[in-house]
Each structure stands twice: as C-alpha cells, then as structure tokens.
Symmetry: C2
Subunit: 398 residues, 2 copies
Amino acid sequence: MDYFKESLNLHRTLKGKIRMSPKMDVRSKDDLSLVYSPGVAEPCRAIHQHPEDVYKYTIKSNTVAIVTDGSAVLGLGDIGALASIPVMEGKAMLFKRFANIDAFPICLDTNDTDKIVETVRLIAPVFGGVNLEDISAPRSFEIEHRLQDLGIPVFHDDQHGTAIVTLAGLLNASKLVGKKMEDLKVVINGAGAAGIAIARLLKAVDNPDSPLATPVKDIIICDSKGILHSGRENLNAAKLEALTFTNEEDRPGSLHDAIRGADVFIGVSVANLLTADDIRTMAKDSIIFAMANPVPEIMPDEAKAGGAAIVGTGRSDLPNQINNVLGFPGIFRGALDARAPRISPNMKLAAARAIADHIRNPDFDRVIPPTLDEQVAWRVADEVRRVAEEEIRAAQEG
Amino acid sequence: MDYFKESLNLHRTLKGKIRMSPKMDVRSKDDLSLVYSPGVAEPCRAIHQHPEDVYKYTIKSNTVAIVTDGSAVLGLGDIGALASIPVMEGKAMLFKRFANIDAFPICLDTNDTDKIVETVRLIAPVFGGVNLEDISAPRSFEIEHRLQDLGIPVFHDDQHGTAIVTLAGLLNASKLVGKKMEDLKVVINGAGAAGIAIARLLKAVDNPDSPLATPVKDIIICDSKGILHSGRENLNAAKLEALTFTNEEDRPGSLHDAIRGADVFIGVSVANLLTADDIRTMAKDSIIFAMANPVPEIMPDEAKAGGAAIVGTGRSDLPNQINNVLGFPGIFRGALDARAPRISPNMKLAAARAIADHIRNPDFDRVIPPTLDEQVAWRVADEVRRVAEEEIRAAQEG
C-alpha cells in the first residue's frame, strides 16, 4: 500500500479524523433543560463553591490537550501549527483507541516559549492533562519544566514517551543477552528531546534511589558532531546538563569511536548512519534500537549481519517496534485516574516496567509488546496509577 | 421535574456531556500507518505547501471553539472558568445537535482582555470559527472587535445571537399587530452585551442600506439607573456609543417613563420589574419580550392582563421562547460552509429573516419557531451561506 497517497485520500474523505459527540441525545425540552438552561446552573454553582467538583461534573477528568507549535513534527521539522493538525488528530485517535481518553489538538500559532507556557496555563481549566507534542528542543524542556506546577500532568511525549518505551525494550533485551543493566555500555545518537530524556531515564537521574530503578552506569550521547564531552564548544544548556550524568570518562570522538565496544546503540537521529562493519566494532551480542523514522539508522538485516543480537526500530513492518503508543495512553490513563498533579520519575519507571513485564516470554524478535496490543495501556495504567496514588498519599502524610 | 437536582445527577453520571470520537476505527497496522505515522506526513506536507488545504484534510472546516472566561455565565455572573465548563459543554451539544458542528469548550483562566484576544489568536489554527460566550461587557465588545481580522468568524453569541432571534420574533410580532417595524417605539431594558446588540441590529446601524433591513427608528435603552441619555454621568464607552443611535429626542427618565406609550418592551435584565399597570401605560397591542432568565421581567399572564398582545420569554415552558438556539447553530453552519471570514451584518439580518420566515402562519403564541424545531438551523444556514457567498464574491470582484 502507498501509505502516503492512501493517507491523503483518507484525510480528504474524512475531513479530519475526530469529531465531538454528545454523551446523550437532546430530544425533548426536558433534555434541553437538564443539559443546558436552566438545569446546568446547578453543576456550575457546585463547582463555583467547590472547585474540585469540576472533576465530578465535567469532561475535565478524562480530557487531555495535545499541545504543539508544529516546530518538530515527525521527520518534517518546523512545518507550523496548521500543518501539524493531522498528526495531533491522529494522536487524539490513539488516546481514545488505547485508553478511552478524550484528547483535543491545541496547535499554537507561535514558537515563543513564554507565550506557549502562558497559553497552556490559560486554557488549562477544561483539561485534566497536557501532552506536549512535537515542540523542538531545547524550548520543549523549558516549557515542560515551567508547567510542572500547573496541578495537572504536563508531559512531553517526544521525550518521556520515547524514553519509557526504550527502557522497556532494553530491560527485556538485556535479560535476553545475559547482561545486567548496570553493566551495559550505552551509546545514544541524537541529543535532542528524546536522546537526552532516554539518557536521563536509563540512568535514573531523577530518582536514583527508587526501588524501580536499575540504572545504566555508562552512557555516551552523540550529536551530529560526535560525542558530547567537555571539550565541545557551543553546547546548549540541555547538552551541558546531560554531560553531568553521561560520558564520565569525558571521552572525545566520533559516533564510530563511541560505539566501539559498546553493548547498546540507541538511535534517535537520521537514516542510514551505520553499517554492518560499524556493528562489528561493538561488543558481542549488541543491542541496536535504531529508531529514526521512517528509515532507521541501520536496517535490521544489516545490523544482524554485523553481529547484533537484537534489533528494534520505529517501524511497524519490522520486529521490535519501539513506539510511543505503548506508553502515553496508559500513562495518562493512570495519571488521570489517580488525579496525579504530574508524571513523576517513578511513574515513568513503573510504566517502563509494566510494558516490559507485559511480555511473558520475550525473545529476540519480541522484546516489546506489539503496538496494537490492547492490554498494554491498561496494564501500564494500573501500575502508573498505583505509584501515583502512593506518592499522593506520601505527600499528604509528609 | 426538579431541573436543578436532576441536572446535577445527570452531570455526575455522565462525567461531562461530550466526548471525542474517532471518525474511523484503528484496528490494523495499516490503519495506524494511514491515520498516523508514516502516512499522516502526506497531508501535513500538503498543508505546509498550501495552507488553505487545512480545510480539506483536517477538522478545521467543521470545528468551533466556544471561548469564555466565565465572567458572565447565565444568571450566575462571574463564576470563573472552571465553573463555566458545564454551560460550554451544553453549548457544544447544541452545536452538534442542531447543525452537526464539532464545538469544543475553551474556558480561559483570565479576565484580561489582551490575554483573551491573544490566546484566541494563538489557538485559532485548529478552529474554523470562534463562538465567544458569557464574557462580560464591555470587555466582550472589545474582544470581539479586535478579533474580526482573524480570518475565521468570531461571534459573540450573547450579543448577536440574542439580537438575531429577538429581531426574528419582532418581525412576525409586528406583522401580527399590524404595525410597521419603522413605526415601532421600542424600549430595551438592559444595556449590557445583549441589549446594545439588539438595538444595533433593530436599527441596522451597521448596514442601514441593506435590502434585508427594515430598521426601527425609535429605540430607547434603559439600564438599572433608567434611560440612557446625554445627561447621564459615568456611562461606559459602549453605552455612550449606543446614545449615538438611540433616544434621538434625548429623553431622560426611568424605565417606567420610557415604556409609557411604547409599542415594544424588550427585557434582557432581571426578574419581576414590571406589573400589569406598567403595561397599561404602553401603546395598544404592545409586544413584550421579557427574556430575563429564569424568571422574566413580567410573566405572560400579567403582561396580557395589562393589555399586551404578544408576550415572549426565554423560557421553554411558556409560549414564544426567544432562545439563541434558534440562531447560532445555523449561523455558524452557514458561515463555515461558505468559509466566511466573519459574520457580517447582512448575514445576521439574513439569519433573523430565515428564522422569522420559517413560521408560515405566525400567531400570537407562535411568533418564533419552537426551540427544538430541527429544520430552523438548516434554513438559517442556507440563507447565511448564500449571503456570505455573495459577499465573498463581491469582495473578490471589488
């Protein structure tokens, strides 16, 4: 199937992929008096008196804003708010499909960090959570960071969703090749939102003492100019911060230098960067997660020819698809159900473990559940909710 | 039925009254590849190249934002964004029910005019129209005015919706009592958003030469302190402007002075202001639209006891319900279908005439169609679209 051509036809036929539906029919005057004037005044009054009741009487408890500025959309880059809408509609479909969440696209006509932060604050009342999407780094870091006090979860999926699903895959892959997480030498290629978030989560930077964490000790991040090390000039703030918990030996060099002897390559970069020869320089039974879309950093056949034991990509037509869909629906479901004020580091670890544990007998071509497995999100939701409820209880007691 | 109690129960059971629905199921990997990655890239690219294509491939062509700050909600006043959500959800249901429009509540956590204007601009990409709702005057005037260049219709329903339906009722009522519109002496009580908009539309201030207009010449507006006239102090800008086209004789006095000899009383104010004795001072066969909610300025029985020929209220349990529901769904339907850049004065007149003309044989208890008449919105939409298309053509030719 020519996905591009067919997709264009489909979008034209549907005129957008989502719609708003009433939860009940309005047929009679009585119906009208209950859902609208005069009856509706009563839930309004109740919420005015007890703001927390907004979760009882409105869509807030199940509604998520998908917020973007269209600055880093798929592999398309900065195509702007209008052109990003089809992706955000698609994401809304996935929220519904996998976790029965009502999500709505908020595509902002600005790239200004302050304005994005303020707009999210202003539109927040009707939403129970905010999924930041396809906003370019490093603005995405700042935007997410500044919104953590909003009282509802604000979660940049390109960072954490990718990181969580990557960690899930790596938990199973490392077991299969008989290596411990803490002993892995990991190279992450790509120092944008996803790459740095993956490093952070693998290292458990934000919750080193969590019983859920099994941190990787040795991580090197590369960008298009090679290894991030202290001798590099003009590193942005996010990359500088990443240096504080990666590349402890402060090695310089190229991506090729970095992967020599490494156990794991995680690519969140661009197509066709590596060859079988490159893989041959890695440690035995290497693990390759080549997630560039739509063409991975190296194709599975070639990686295996170079000695890789396990290869994952972002593609649905290849084994081990590392796809955010395994993460965000269940994570938000759990967070909404617990009414968590944010997605904490432990909630992220719990989500990764739930995804990994969902595969009873992992094998080399199945380190991660299939993207369309309907049970994953609900399992993730259970674990995320449990951790969130514990944290809420602890905060109340403390 | 106890609408208040029942409504509270209903809202609690439903947990909000609207949901987001996908327009197609996502069952297979192919489905996923079409609605999301990789296929979705194609409509994104198309829109990036031709921004107008956003109407072809996304929900924009059928999606309206219901924007409020919760500052003037129903009769409840300034209850804030959270507490306004049930009303906005109800409104979204009505958009769907009567005109198949997908509307979504945007409840803003600010009363700042500049911030509201900017936020609407920033979130506009995904919307084909903006319904401003329950924002207090005079800010609502300024907000609407400043957003007229947005390229999509921005329409403050509390003003124009009410005005349009009132005009529709008056067109039929005046015929029934054998008086010409231009000869009517009209008193409007309430100088907020609705009152001033009604005066503007009845007088055809914004399009005096339109073939659709049959302007009323003599209009007096009262607020809680009596008649608006040049001797009044501390009038806000909107009231001062209203003085330029009302009360030509610059009469001072109270509401009671104003209605003496008047043909029409239009109330958008508060309950129980008038008695049968007051109505007796009006001209013969007076027309009373007492639209205060939920209790009108005077009840129909008492008004008729005072000699009123025709009485309308805002209530669904009384004859002649003057309800915005007759207006906004069809108006937006027509505007969206024509892709009108704004709701022009002539589109408003066309809507009023369509509503009035929908009643083939008006009588004293039926000057306006019943609120639940499903055909009204489509008739309104046809007329509004026709006028909008003419205006678009004229603008292109001019």
